[in-house]
């Protein structure tokens, strides 16, 4: 057993022993102050230096990666926008070809109709013949005074009768003339309608072309921004990539659900082909892998079909093939897909038969009465499985479209996330380096707190010496103070 009072200088006076030991320790620690400070600084440098270096390196990597991401993103954006502009121009050319091709005919028709309308208008402008000169004569006769003479009165009556008959004739002539003009005006109507219709058609065509031109303008503006490598363009493209990534991921998840159903349909019957007792890993049967391979082959065939149709562009070599070769490829891929779909349908049927066989065996082992066949209702699941087995491969073929979006956007999304991850790591390392640095400072201060008495004594001595030296005219360095070791 060790003696608990062994360390005491005066075993009967613990307080005095502690005090003396503390003073001795203080003196020893004061003597070792400089090397201890140096050791703490050195330890801080040893730990913090690599951390700071690693943080700086990671920040550099993040910056380099960001620059590379931007370059790739802009190049991708430029290519896509270029393709979009190309498509818009094709659409525009189609519109121009379709709408403006018949424009000369339309113009000739318009001119003809306008000429006809003008001619008719001129005809309408012909005024009825002016009243005859005899109107003046009638006015003069009207001014003749009868004077009560019978002869004069008779003459006047005759004149009046003649005038009335002439007036009636003139009026009838006038009415006939107006009737003719009205009928001409009435004849205007179809031409006006035709003119109106033609003008509306022209207006519609022009609006369509204007819209297409506006779309091209918008795409061109985007293209210019991308070409100028602006931050706004980068931000837009990144956002677009994130959106694409999310949408493609959702569609892919749905497709994966379909693939899972497909897998379930053919996994069991595949064990009839490759055996049910072989395992690739602890839980993965060979038959399951075989089923998975079949599904992947179907998806690949679908991908080739989509590539050959130039719907997707994952394999530039396929889309660059000449049309004859591409058509061959489409037919080959479609035939294989069709065959695989047929095989799957047969496997789905086999699955149903295997399950029925197993059920029958279990029932016979359990010595329970067999379930009565439900007639045509019992065949619905079988038929459903077969149809699903046939349709799903074709449905899976369309996965190529979201897959392309997913792959293209994953580069941007992954790059952006990696940059953030590296930055976060660098930040953590920088914080760790700072913690080490501050901890070293704190330890230095804590060390000085332990030896505060010798330090105070030193300070007093130094102040006195400095005062004496100042009195003697010696130059004193004001920074020379050990009370502030880190100042």
């Amino acid at each position: 057993m060790s003696d608990p009072t062994m360390w005491m200088i005066w075993p009967d006076n613990a307080a005095l022993s502690i005090l003396v030991l503390a003073l001795i320790a203080m003196v020893v620690l004061y003597a070792a102050r400089a090397p201890m400070h140096a050791m703490l600084h050195s330890a801080s440098q040893t730990l913090g230096g690599p951390l700071r270096l690693a943080a700086r390196w990671l920040f550099g990597v993040a910056a380099e990666l960001r620059a590379r991401n931007k370059a790739v993103l802009l190049a991708q954006g430029r290519r896509e926008t270029g393709q979009r502009i190309e498509r818009e121009f094709e659409r525009l050319a189609l519109l121009v070809g379709r709408d403006l091709q018949g424009y000369p005919t339309l113009q000739r028709k318009l001119l003809e109709e306008i000429t006809r309308v003008e001619e008719d208008y001129k005809k309408c402008g012909e005024v009825p013949p002016p009243p005859p000169d005899w109107v003046d004569a009638v006015t003069a006769v009207a001014k003749i005074k009868t004077g009560g003479g019978e002869v004069v009165q008779k003459i006047l009556v005759d004149i009046r009768q003649s005038l009335e008959s002439i007036h009636d004739k003139a009026l009838a002539e006038y009415r006939r003339a107006y009737q003719t003009r009205h009928s001409i005006l009435e004849g205007f109507m179809p031409y006006w309608r035709s003119l109106d219709k033609t003008m509306k058609q022209v207006d519609k065509n022009m609006t369509g072309i204007q819209d297409a031109a506006a779309a091209v303008d918008a795409q061109m503006a985007t293209y210019k921004e991308i070409a100028a490598r602006s931050d706004e363009a980068e931000s837009q493209l990144t956002n677009s990539a994130f959106t694409q990534f999310a949408i493609a991921a959702i569609v892919m998840a749905v497709a994966l659900g379909g693939a899972f159903v497909n897998f379930k349909l053919i996994a069991l019957p595949m064990s009839e082909m490759v055996g049910a007792s072989d395992y690739i890993t602890a839980t993965l049967r060979t038959s399951e892998v075989a089923a998975l391979v079949i599904i992947l082959v179907e998806a690949s065939m679908g991908l080739f079909v989509m590539e050959s149709l130039r719907i997707t562009h994952l394999f530039p070599r396929i889309s660059n093939l000449d049309d004859r070769m591409r058509r061959r490829m489409i037919w080959i891929s479609l035939t294989l897909l069709f065959l695989l779909a047929g095989i799957e349908s047969a496997l789905a049927l086999m699955r149903d038969m295997l399950i029925a066989d197993k059920q029958a065996l279990l029932q016979s082992l359990a010595t329970t009465p067999a379930v009565v066949n439900e007639g045509w209702l019992g065949h619905i699941p079988t038929a459903g499985q077969m149809v699903l087995g046939f349709i799903l491969p074709f449905a899976l073929a369309f996965v190529a479209v979201p897959l392309e979006s997913f792959i293209h956007s994953a580069r941007t999304v992954g790059g952006a996330l990696l940059v953030h991850l590296i930055n976060a790591l660098a930040f953590v390392l920088r914080i760790a380096a700072n913690i080490v640095k501050q901890a070293s400072r704190a330890l230095v201060h804590a060390y000085d707190v332990l030896i505060v008495l010798p330090l105070l004594a030193e300070h007093l001595l130094r102040t006195r010496r400095n005062g004496a030296a100042a009195g003697a005219g010696e130059r004193v360095d004001p920074r020379e103070s050990t009370l502030h070791p880190l100042s």
Binding site: W57, G60, V61, E64, L65, R68, L268, S271, E272, G275, A276, S277, D278, Y279, I280, T281, A282, M353, L354, D357, K358, L361, L362, S364, L365, A366, T367, I422
Partner: protein, 221 residues
């Protein structure tokens, strides 16, 4: 350059992870050797043995092995194996084999004749041989018996046996009249077998008297 260094580091890490996940070369097949005690009054339990056999037939997968053997006066003999089969890896063929197997065991259980002695040790040695030959990943001996060994004077079985990595499950261990008088005899008998089986290197020893509880044993393996 930095990015290449980083990419190379990731690639190396990926390779290391890939190397860690190697392919599984163990056998995942099961092999079950069932001993049916036909001695004395226990021969009357044959109906229950049929239930166990049917259960095993329903549970075992394609590629698994099953053998049913009787426990008689001296059971260290292939002649005592009533039916044995390693089921085909194709499910349809395996089902047909199971039907045929059931036919053979059914015929045996209907015509079972009581024997005067019970050589459980000999049957265990025979079972271990059969199971080791199958090369299955999981090997099980199911003993359908009261676990009362009764050897004639000539037969020698008092030596250590080897049941390495085989689990032994005693099913329907009925109580004898003497057990009812003194239950310690029953418990002592089971304890003695437990010690002997575990000393022989068996991976597990279990006693299941309720046949329905077999479900948990074979369904999880």
């Amino acid at each position: 350059m930095r990015i290449r260094t980083l990419a190379a580091s990731f690639a190396l890490a990926g390779l290391a992870i890939a190397a860690a996940g190697c392919a599984d070369s163990r056998s995942h097949a099961q092999a079950v050797y069932m001993l049916v005690d036909t001695s004395g009054t226990y021969a009357r339990q044959a109906g229950k043995a049929e239930l166990v056999i049917n259960y095993l037939l329903g549970t075992l997968n394609p590629g698994d092995s099953l053998a049913v053997a009787r426990v008689v006066n001296r059971s260290f003999s292939e002649k005592d194996i009533v039916a044995k089969a390693t089921f085909d890896t194709r499910p349809s063929e395996a089902n047909a084999q199971k039907r045929a197997f059931r036919g053979r065991t059914e015929a045996f259980l209907r015509s079972v004749q009581p024997t005067s002695h019970t050589d459980i040790t000999g049957a265990l040695i025979q079972g271990a041989e059969f199971l080791n030959e199958t090369g299955a990943g999981t090997k099980t001996i199911v003993i359908f018996s009261d676990m009362q060994e009764d050897l004639d004077k000539v037969t020698v079985r008092n030596f250590p046996i080897r049941l390495d990595h085989i689990r032994v499950i005693a099913v329907n261990v009925t109580k004898l009249n003497t057990d009812n008088i003194d239950p310690r005899r029953y418990l002592g008998r089971l304890d003695a077998w437990h010690k002997r089986v575990m000393a022989a290197g068996a991976s597990e020893w279990k006693v299941i008297n309720d046949i329905e509880r077999l479900n948990g044993i074979f369904a999880n393996s």
